[in-house]
């Protein structure tokens, strides 16, 4: 049981480039989330999904897109990378219900130059 896996671990992008951050979970969770973590700012929710085919914006969605075609996968797409997107990105998953624990992946560190 691998839990939540993320690839890549680290990436450097040039301004204007695009990339997809991959996230997969093997716990059959309906709910999945993408967060970004910036120093001293805690975690901010970018997008979330309550099931395959259903996604919605979080607190900081600008510059990002997501899709959820399967229960297991929840990729995050950056279309035109900007220096403001330099951050550490975490994917998480959980069962239904606000009392449920969220399980986090190891993170992807992204540097946009």
């Amino acid at each position: 049981n691998a839990g939540v896996t993320q690839t890549p671990k680290f990436r450097i992008l040039k301004i204007g480039q695009s990339m997809t951050l991959q996230c997969t979970q093997d716990m059959n969770h309906n709910y999945m989330y993408w967060y970004r973590q910036d120093p001293g700012m805690g975690l901010k929710l970018i997008y979330y999904s309550v099931g395959a085919g259903i996604t919605d914006k979080g607190e900081v969605p600008n510059g990002y897109n997501v899709s959820r075609s399967t229960t297991e996968d929840f990729p995050l797409r950056l279309e035109l990378a900007a220096p403001s997107q330099t951050s550490v990105y975490f994917c998480a998953s959980s069962s239904r219900g606000p009392q449920e624990t969220q399980y986090f992946g190891p993170g992807t560190r992204l540097l946009v130059l």
Partner: protein
């Protein structure tokens, strides 16, 4: 709307000393309360949570937190810390009955345990 405040960005402490990490929240409705821990270069993992019932909740590694409704606080304590407790600790809330499971995080407190 809900918000979480962790006033201490960093707490240095010597090994075997007690520690308290403070968390206050703001909400017009009842909330669930969580503490997550992030060890260096890792993702977050749940330390403990308060849903209902006894206001004192404990983790398996000796941490405890007490829900205080009148002070809207959920401070985390440990009577004797170890070097291995060095990590960043995040307090978070969610809203019962919500359909989205959204967690609102504080800005985190770095616990730095020194020998």
């Amino acid at each position: 709307a809900q918000s979480v405040t962790q006033l201490d960005s960093q707490v240095p402490v010597f090994e075997e000393a007690p520690v308290e990490l403070r968390c206050n929240y703001s909400s017009s409705v009842s909330v669930y309360l969580f503490w997550y821990v992030q060890y260096p270069n890792q993702g977050l993992q749940l330390l403990l949570k308060y849903l209902s019932g006894s206001t004192l909740v404990e983790s398996i590694n000796g941490f405890e937190a007490e829900f205080n409704k009148s002070q809207t606080s959920f401070h985390l304590r440990k009577p004797s810390v170890h070097i291995s407790d060095t990590a960043e600790y995040f307090c978070a809330v969610s809203v019962p009955g919500g359909a989205t499971n959204k967690l609102i995080f504080g800005t985190g407190t770095l616990l730095a345990v020194q020998p």
